[in-house]
């Protein structure tokens, strides 16, 4: 479908936001490749990174098509500066230990699954198709992460402590998932976006169930960090992009 001209700029930015969350998280998860605690996790984490970057490729491709300014998914991934990235802060945070990576994965995938599930009903049939494929992947990502959260939480004293520390540290970045931008509100009225605020109660319920099963404590909600949706990032995104973008930036116009 073609998106109404008045909504196209906002919708393109929304598609970028969906793509950026997955591209940046995929990048972080890919850093584990070859360094995971067991070989099976090298495979699983590479697979998850691959899913996320694949999702990002479709979503940024859709963003470029809607924007209609000659930028494809690669141009959006490799030639934007940090202030133009709209990903949530959580996904750009360094990997930390395996507990931080897993808890971050669990929090994001639980959000992503709900978001994608709603987007399968988008009137933009391309988006509905992308979401349907990605939803299957996100469902597996939630299961993989949740199983590890339970293993770590209900494993040894050390793993429980590490998992609880990760939950406590990352909790303040979860609120940003559910902030509704004015653009999202306008797009949601047309069914083109999901108002993330509507996903929060279900997210909290499903996350709390797993944390309880893992014998972990769900933190009391306090101040929530924000800024990613407005391009105001942590200091971690700049170095990540410098690394990711180095080749296309140092060889302008080259094909790879």
């Amino acid at each position: 479908m073609t998106v109404a001209a008045a909504l196209a700029p906002a919708y393109a930015r929304y598609c970028q936001q969906l793509g950026d969350d997955r591209l940046i998280l995929g990048h972080r998860v890919s850093e584990w490749c070859g360094h995971a605690p067991i070989l099976e996790e090298d495979i699983a984490l590479a697979n998850i990174a691959l899913d996320l970057i694949g999702q990002a490729t479709f979503l940024l491709g859709r963003a470029g098509a809607v924007e209609n300014a000659g930028r494809d998914a690669d141009a959006l991934a490799f030639l934007r500066d940090d202030r133009a990235f709209r990903n949530a802060l959580m996904v750009e945070l360094p990997n930390g230990d395996f507990a931080v990576t897993i808890v971050r994965q669990f929090f994001f995938a639980s959000f992503s699954r709900l978001q994608l599930e709603a987007l399968t009903r988008s009137p933009d049939t391309e988006m509905a198709g992308i979401a349907a494929k990605a939803l299957k992947e996100a469902t597996y990502h939630v299961r993989h992460a949740a199983e590890w959260v339970v293993r770590l939480g209900d494993g040894t004293e050390e793993s429980r402590q590490r998992a609880q520390d990760a939950v406590n540290d990352l909790w303040r970045y979860t609120g940003e998932f559910f902030l509704t931008t004015s653009e999202e509100r306008a797009l949601a009225a047309e069914g083109l976006a999901v108002d993330p605020a509507t996903l929060q109660a279900e997210w909290e319920r499903s996350v709390r169930d797993v944390l309880t099963l893992a014998t972990l404590t769900t933190p009391a909600t306090s101040w929530m960090q924000r800024g990613g949706r407005d391009g105001k990032h942590t200091e971690h995104l700049g170095p990540l992009l410098a690394e990711m973008q180095v080749l296309p930036r140092s060889h302008p116009g080259a094909s790879w």
Binding site: P37, D42, I43, F78, R151, G155, R162, V246, H251, A254
Partner: protein, 322 residues
Amino acid sequence: MTPPLSTADDATRQAEFEARIARGESIEPKDWMPEKYRRQLVRMMSQHAHSEIVGMLPEGNWITRAPSLRRKMSLLAKVQDEAGHGLYIYCGTETLGVDRQELVDQLLAGTAKYSSIFNYPTLTWADIGAIGWLVDGAAIVNQTMLAKASYGPYARAMVRICKEENFHKRQGYEIMVTLARGTPAQKAMAQDALDRWWWPSLMMFGPHDKDSPNSDELLKWGVKKKSNDELRQRFVNLTIAQAKAIDLTIPDPELRYDEASGNWIFGAIDWDEFWRVVKGDGPCNRERLAARRKAHADGEWVRAAATAYAAKRAARDAGAAA
């Protein structure tokens, strides 16, 4: 040392075994086999599995810097395949009564070998192309032969792995094609990668036949069907045309075509370098082992958690069943 054949039974079994090999039959895990045959297979298969695991490191070095989303996904998928191959071959060694942990411990202790090619650094993006093209290309020549090996589980693993390696090789060559037809800087990058990876790739086939201590036995038992030098020649013959097609120069001034044999005759391999890298003094031997050891040490608490959780769960299930 092979234990002396103590009874007539063993002598009979050995003769039967060798007759089966001669008939081209496949040896399966439950079949009787000489201890030395078993040990040679464990040695080869574990070296192969370790190579897949260590091989993830030089290529993993470029996942975060791959220059397009498509290239990033291909590389991630390739490295993931390598982890899968490692796992698959480790499982293969279990059919010979050796468990994976024992083999991983040998790798981490530095007492097991893996392919020396992975002790060279990946310095530019073109190295990812060169590895796919040359290193996977060389591996395919070797593994296509091993797919006919006398030990059934290893041969079957090779059939499956070869299919994926062929795909990796095509991807790698395609990276080289793109660079060779790209900007002058990209073409220079491709040539530089070929210059650095060519000779180490020829060394992947191992020492000359006359200097290869295991070859005779492996050939006799049908584990290998061709010698190191035969395989190396086959690889060179296949690869020269591919380099010419994209206008890259093989870094060997002595290279010439021999009409009589149909072979490309290549210059002398630097065997001093080969043995130096095998013995631990390659550019990245220490870094590769250090990376594996760090991953293993950092993952200790995770594996302990998984074990503890599994035990708790089993106890709870048993309690529920009682």
